[in-house]
């Protein structure tokens, strides 16, 4: 695979040009944290390509928190043709979550047309992490702090610009189309590789402190603790807010809600949380997970037992967002360490 170098002014030009085709989002700093903001004709502006993931997960763009998916008995699709979405600066932990989302939403025989069209039409220009956050632990579960999959173009930040690598035909086409903005490079590859190695080593050192079980033993360890009192202990400070589910790039559960809207009835698809009491409850009140400890265990069951069985991967990408979001200070690394 050819690698290219693109300097910052040229990346800015590329973004401006792509904004004719795409609605573009990139991480922008606010309160010393990064949130995705829309950028476009004005180029990159003050968006941050390097550093770590944004606060919100990338699923927000492909599977929004609340979206209309049907109007009662109308088989017509929406006439409004929106520009497809391009994400710039997505990180490896978010890209890894596509393995889960694609499995769920593109699975036959009933595919989710809303997710699929966004995925097919969208563009992802990802980037390497250039540092790690306190709660980051991707390397401990087999995900690198630099993208290895699910991107169209990846950018590795260096002084003055980026090493660009295409990861799909779509990415290759863009590089070809805007060839003047890129230069073939071999010069920067060594630096890119040494940057990656250093960050990976630093992060491995950082996660050592959490005493996590080796990734290949996590599922067996979870099963061995299924009937233990660990879940009651973990659930002690949980306030059932569902923040861990909402902020998780790999949590895909939703609920269908109907509502009246002026002259029509519409159906919404909304993020749901398995920690909420009502999640598995059926009419009449039967509930297989009445206790909060059962629901807490279920969250880990889905991530570290169900997904390894069904897709050979964890339903966790080590992004550490749930730990940051939890008002009860439940640290996913601590829970994993207690499995052994």
């Amino acid at each position: 695979m050819d690698l290219y170098f693109i300097n910052k002014p040229n990346l800015d030009r590329l973004v401006k040009s792509l904004s004719k085709t795409y609605k573009i989002f990139a991480p922008v700093k606010a309160d010393n944290k990064k949130f995705y903001g829309e950028i476009g004709e004005n180029g990159l502006g003050d968006s941050v390509i390097g550093e770590i993931r944004a606060v919100e997960p990338i699923k927000s763009f492909y599977f929004p928190a609340r979206t209309k998916i049907a109007e009662y008995f109308s088989t017509k699709g929406s006439d409004k043709k929106e520009k497809p979405i391009a994400i710039i600066g997505a990180k490896s932990c978010d890209l890894a979550s596509f393995k889960v989302m694609d499995y769920v939403y593109a699975q036959e025989p009933f595919c989710d047309p809303f997710y699929i069209s966004k995925r097919e039409e969208g563009l992802i220009i990802s980037s390497d992490c250039t540092c790690y956050g306190e709660t980051c632990f991707c390397v401990a579960i087999g995900i690198m702090p630099y993208p290895t999959e699910n991107f169209d173009i990846n950018l590795s930040e260096l002084d003055g610009g980026y090493v660009a690598e295409s990861g799909s035909l779509k990415g290759e086409k863009i590089i070809k189309e805007y060839f003047k903005l890129f230069q073939v490079t071999e010069l920067h590859i060594e630096k890119k590789d040494s940057n990656r190695k250093k960050l990976k080593d630093d992060l491995l050192e950082h996660v050592k402190k959490s005493n996590l079980p080796p990734k290949d033993s996590v599922q067996a360890a979870f099963k061995s603790k299924f009937d233990s009192n660990l879940w009651e202990e973990v659930a002690k400070t949980c306030v059932e807010c569902g923040a861990c589910n909402m902020i998780c790039p790999a949590c895909h559960c939703f609920i269908l809600m109907d509502q009246k809207n002026e002259n029509s009835f519409e159906r919404l698809k909304m993020w749901d949380s398995c920690l909420l009491m009502s999640f598995a409850r059926v009419a009449g009140g039967a509930n297989p997970r009445k206790l909060l400890a059962q629901r807490m265990r279920n969250r880990f069951d889905k991530k570290f037992n169900f997904f390894p069985d069904t897709i050979g991967r964890f339903g966790c990408t080590g992004c550490g967002r749930c730990t940051e979001a939890c008002p009860g200070k439940i640290d996913i690394r601590e829970v994993l360490s207690k499995l052994q």
Binding site: I69, A70, Y72, F73, S74, T75, G77, V104, Y105, Q107, F110, C111, D112, P113, I116, F226, H252, C253, F254, I255, L256, M257, D258, Q259, K260, F265, E266, R267, K269, D272, C274, F279, A280, R281, V282, A283, G284, G285, A286, N287, P288, R289, K290, Q294, K302, F306, D309, T310
Partner: protein
Amino acid sequence: MMIDNPYLPVKTEVLDVIEESSTIKTFRLKPESFLHFKAGQFVEMSIPGKGEAPFTPSSSPYEKDKLEITIMKAGRITSMIHSLKKGDVVGLRGPYGKEYPLSEFEGKEILLVGGGVGLAPLRALFLALVHDIEKYKNVLFCCGSRTPADIIYKDCVLDKWQNLDKKRIKLRITVDRKDDSWKGNVGLVTTTIDMLDINLKNSVSIVCGPPIMMKFATFKLLEVGYRPDQIYLSMEKNMSCGVGKCGHCRLGSFYACKDGPVFRYDKISHIHEIWD
């Protein structure tokens, strides 16, 4: 390519409402485009703008254009459904999930065990079995209800079905508590499994009912000699999307909506929380 929207219901007319008991009604429905279901599969029925819930049709899958759904008033949506009248419009989508594997039942002695509103899916199954009765050795349908007034499909279970094919089709009706008019069996539905005139080696049993009844009926079947792989259960779980995406109905490594709702017991017996 535009993929069909799996979340969009089909406009459906309520043709009739049949009162089965004080808490259970059967709705006769005609969807604008028919949902070709097989016995055991379920549909999502909705009240426009209010919400939807999963139900397994109770009518014969061989009936064209129309279907029946039997619903107990148990929550928000079912209460709204209970106030529906002839001519009202609802939404339907489906059918979803795995049906009863009729081909595996061929040549066998079939035991159906149903309790309360759990008779609904079994009625669709029973009618499908009766449709091709020569393919099966015989059918014994054990129906349990709380009181005689709670028996649903009264004209069928107490009358019509008793006289279908007396050699091949038998019914055992029981109530937990009798009233003055009741001359039949009294006792939980599990008591009807006590004295079986069935060659267990060549038999399958199918159970549907409230969770507690399913649990004890299954244990009873195991006790009288059925193997776990001869018992089929219809699992009621919270199925929101119906198409294996929303995550609500997960049962171990399965989703009840796409891998069930009909499960062979040996496939799920190891899963925690199945009876709750």
